[in-house]
């Protein structure tokens, strides 16, 4: 019962609130994924196997591998951050990635479309997919969990139909049945063969998303809808439009990740991207975004994504089994959630 808190707060003579600003725990949570990333990196250096004195974890190839491996789930997690800040969830992202990789491959290989039309079509498809999910959810007041769970099934089904349950291999060259060679750049590295192109896509998308979330009217609306939907509505925020838009963003992000996926691995596969939705949600939560909505940061998501990748990498370098990797990830998710819950309770806003 909150009676006692109201009593305390009702005394206007002693405004004790400013003290809360320097709550060290709140600062830790705010930067928890960055701190976690630093800790994992330090752990990586310490526990890394060495060869001829070289720390394998810090080998440029290894680092490039880490950031390349996380770029697809990272792109998805960035979109997911918008959705989760509105207190929503999108489970369809991994399936839309699979669908997008299939459509990308089949448009170029069997459809004979050029690079630009293919990419544009797939991105539009992702947006439309999200808009449909968002519209169903807001129009019929359904939980996004259910709608996007259905969306997951639908996207997998569509992907199986388009692909005929076959891998669609992408071969490069000029002429019918071949993809433009420039598409293969997604699997390569730039700048003296150091920075993977997939990672560059991830970074650019993250930068744009950060700007949108932090400096635009739309970004403010996203926070408002998650912070208190009714208050946002009464303040004149177009709540339904905002909700539909965030699912359009995850749809776009999933399609983008699907294109990157096709380019990196040179095929489209209906069953790829399975479980990516959960990895993305984990990265967002570790990044400090609250599943209750209204709070979160894009920088946190990026750091959370890379941290998960770095953790998996250091465990792999030490030949630790995938089973143990899963357990480690589980522990980190719980730790991040517990920290957030502690801060919420201290602020007297526990839910």
């Amino acid at each position: 019962m909150s009676g006692e808190k109201i009593e305390v707060a009702a005394n206007p003579v002693v405004p004790s609130a400013p003290k809360r600003r320097v709550d060290p725990l709140a600062i830790v949570v705010r930067f928890q994924s960055l701190i976690g990333l630093v800790l994992v990196a330090i752990g990586g250096v310490i526990f890394s196997p060495r060869r001829h004195g070289e720390i394998l974890f810090l080998n440029p190839d290894n680092i490039a591998n880490i950031v390349r491996a996380v770029s697809e789930t990272g792109i998805i997690a960035i979109g997911m951050t918008f959705v989760i800040i509105t207190a929503g969830i999108d489970l369809s992202v991994g399936a839309v990635l699979g669908l997008s990789s299939v459509v990308t491959a089949s448009m170029m290989i069997s459809g004979g479309f050029g690079l630009i039309p293919t990419i544009l079509a797939v991105l539009v498809m992702g947006i439309v997919f999200g808009v449909v999910q968002g519209t169903i959810s807001t129009r019929f007041r359904l939980e996004p969990f259910i709608v996007t769970l259905a969306g997951l099934q639908a996207a997998r089904g569509l992907a199986l139909i388009v692909s005929g349950n076959q891998y669609i291999n992408i071969s490069y060259g000029d002429g019918p049945g071949l993809a433009p060679p420039v598409f293969a750049v997604l699997g390569e590295r730039l700048f003296d063969n150091t920075v993977p192109v997939a990672t560059i896509v991830f970074i650019i998308f993250a930068a744009i998303a950060t700007i949108v979330l932090n400096t635009t009217r739309f970004g403010r609306y996203v926070y408002a809808v998650g912070g208190n939907e009714r208050a946002a509505r009464i303040s004149g925020v177009p709540v339904s439009m905002v909700k539909i838009s965030v699912y359009a963003i995850t749809g776009f992000a999933s399609a983008l990740a699907g294109i990157v996926h096709a380019g990196q691995f040179n095929f489209g596969s209906a069953n790829d991207g399975m479980g990516y939705e959960l990895t993305a949600i984990a990265a967002v939560v570790i990044g400090g975004t609250s599943l209750f909505g209204g709070a979160g940061s894009m920088v946190g998501t990026v750091a959370g994504t890379i941290m998960l990748g770095a953790l998996a990498n250091i465990l792999q370098l030490n030949n630790i089994t995938p089973a143990t990797q899963l357990l480690a990830t589980a522990a980190i998710i719980v730790l991040a959630a517990v920290l957030q819950s502690l801060v919420r309770r201290r602020e007297g806003l526990g839910r």
């Binding site: 019962m1 009676g3 006692e4 109201i6 009593e7 305390v8 707060a9 009702a10 005394n11 206007p12 002693v14 405004p15 004790s16 609130a17 400013p18 809360r20 600003r21 932090n214 400096t215 635009t216 009217r217 739309f218 970004g219 403010r220 609306y221 926070y223 408002a224 912070g227 208190n228 009714r230 208050a231 946002a232 509505r233 009464i234 303040s235 004149g236 925020v237 209204g294 709070a295 919420r344 602020e347 007297g348 806003l349």
Partner: protein
């Protein structure tokens, strides 16, 4: 003379640096209904929490039948016979009535299976004992608030039967439900149960209470008869005569801002418990503060939310005009376009983003203005925030802390300041000082009067009669969704109450 059923002597309680109770004496006799009145922050809730074992007093003692008791948790208070019904009823809406009554104390069959028929039978017996015909198999979610209240009482009495503490039980009830609840309370008292009835609704006191204790600033301000004059109760509650709390009225009103003539709000689908505006005629002019009076369920909140487009789906019939031009007020967008702003009675639920910073909350209704070309302008935002802090004395003076950390009064100032930033021409206020301490009330009244003097029209609904009488230029009384009387501010409270209840003064 025998010891009272329950007594508290010299209770002191601190929370951090704040003294919530400063030496409180209180007693309750068997079979008595004892009203505990006080403004928010007066210490009623703290006292209740001591009695129900939520908190332990720093000093002072609690006695039952003259024997000293200490409670270290609510369960011990229950074991001693004290049942507490909090405002947020601890019922599970998705379970049926019987399941709720036996929650945590389920009747079992041998073999570890729930004995549902036995629980339903027993539940029916207990409900019938207070002459309430609710099917125990019904879901709590399907019950009215009044019925839920009764289920909560029955549940509480099933594990503690000597003292019943009720925290604002009538806050969400309709008039008929209040009557039924009072009947049940009288029946319980007749069986020897002592009832502590916490409320801030003065008008209910003479009807139900045997004795009244008024609290203020953590002390007992006075113990009186329930039939003491209202002015006396108000003086005890507020600690100063009424007239000092309210600002001077303005002398002149400008042209008509809002005009309703035989206006009714037709709901798209019928909804029980939502009293739609029905054949209402009223005006609000520039510079004028108009009050909406009426008993619970008279349709005050419904009128305001229908005007602002936040109520149930439906449409206005009859004449609704703003600035002399007919308008269709069917959505929030339409209302805002017409220059109407709205402050809800539920600032935590629908007024504020509690976890977000004060500054972010303040600019929420003017985001469009401070984001030219879609990009947030930190400079414009800072200007808007500064303007709000200048107009309303929000404390602490820090726009970066989360608004949930502010006191009720300061939260209310933030909600008001937020809407004022949008430069509305007509402000709709629903219970503008609910849960606000007296000091902040005075500031809010002064601010509203100053805004009215600048030409803002204000339509304010309140269940606090002294507030309407002290603040408003005119008071429109609603009953069953229509306007039944109109008085000038400063009118006698009984006159307004009589009109609200449909009686001659």
């Amino acid at each position: 003379m025998s010891a009272p059923l329950l007594s508290v002597t010299g209770a002191v309680k601190h929370f951090g640096g704040v003294q919530a109770l400063r030496g409180v004496d209180f007693d309750l006799k068997a079979g008595e209904i004892h009203a505990l009145l006080g403004e928010n922050g007066a210490g009623k809730s703290t006292l209740m929490n001591l009695l129900s074992g939520v908190h332990a007093p720093d000093e002072g003692e609690i006695r039952i039948d003259g024997n000293k008791v200490t409670f270290s948790n609510p369960r011990e208070a229950q074991a001693a016979g004290i049942a507490t019904i909090f405002q947020e009823l601890d019922l599970v809406p998705s379970l049926d009535v019987a399941a709720n009554l036996f929650l945590g104390r389920e009747l079992m069959r041998p073999g570890g299976l729930l004995d549902v028929p036995a629980m339903r039978r027993e539940a029916r017996k207990r409900l019938e004992a207070i002459e309430l015909a609710i099917d125990p198999a019904r879901l709590v979610a399907d019950l009215s608030i009044g019925q839920r209240q009764v289920v909560a009482i029955v549940k509480a009495l099933s594990y503690a039967s000597r003292v019943l503490i009720m925290d604002e039980p009538t806050a969400a009830l309709t008039v008929g439900e209040v009557e039924r609840l009072f009947d049940i309370m009288r029946k319980l008292a007749a069986t020897g149960v002592g009832i502590v009835y916490i409320s801030h609704r003065l008008e209910e006191v003479p009807e139900i209470a045997d004795r009244v204790t008024v609290m203020r600033d953590g002390r007992v301000a006075g113990v009186t008869e329930p039939h003491a004059p209202q002015a006396e109760l108000v003086r005890l509650l507020v600690g100063r005569p009424l007239d000092e709390l309210y600002p001077q009225r303005s002398k002149s009103a400008g042209k008509t801002l809002l005009s309703l003539k035989h206006a009714s709000f037709k709901l798209a689908s019928q909804s029980a418990g939502w009293q739609a505006p029905d054949d209402i005629s009223l005006e609000v002019r520039q510079g004028e503060i108009v009050g909406l009076a009426g008993i619970m369920g008279a349709g005050r909140t419904e009128l305001l939310s229908a005007l602002y487009g936040t109520g149930l789906a439906g449409r206005w019939q009859g004449e609704v005009a703003v600035d002399g031009r007919p308008v269709k007020l069917h959505s929030i967008h339409a209302a805002r376009k017409a220059g109407i702003a709205f402050v809800t009675d539920d600032r935590r639920g629908s007024g504020l983003m509690l976890r977000m910073a004060v500054g972010l909350n303040l600019v929420m209704s003017v985001i469009r203005r401070i984001s030219p070309a879609g990009l947030m302008s930190p400079r414009r935002q800072a200007e808007a925030v500064k303007q709000s802090f200048g107009q309303f004395d929000i404390r602490p003076k820090n726009p970066d802390i989360s608004v949930g950390a502010l006191s009720g009064g300061n939260q209310q100032k933030v909600v008001l300041a937020k809407e004022i930033l949008g430069n509305p021409r007509l402000l709709l206020l629903d219970e503008p000082t609910r849960g606000v301490d007296v000091g902040a009330k005075g500031e809010i009244y002064a601010r509203l009067r100053a805004l009215a003097a600048q030409g803002l029209g204000i339509l304010v609904a309140s269940s606090e009669m002294p507030e309407l009488i002290g603040l408003c230029d005119r008071i429109v009384v609603l009953r069953q969704g229509r306007n039944v009387a109109e008085f000038l501010g400063g009118v006698d409270e009984h006159t307004v109450l009589a009109a609200a209840n449909g009686r001659e003064a």
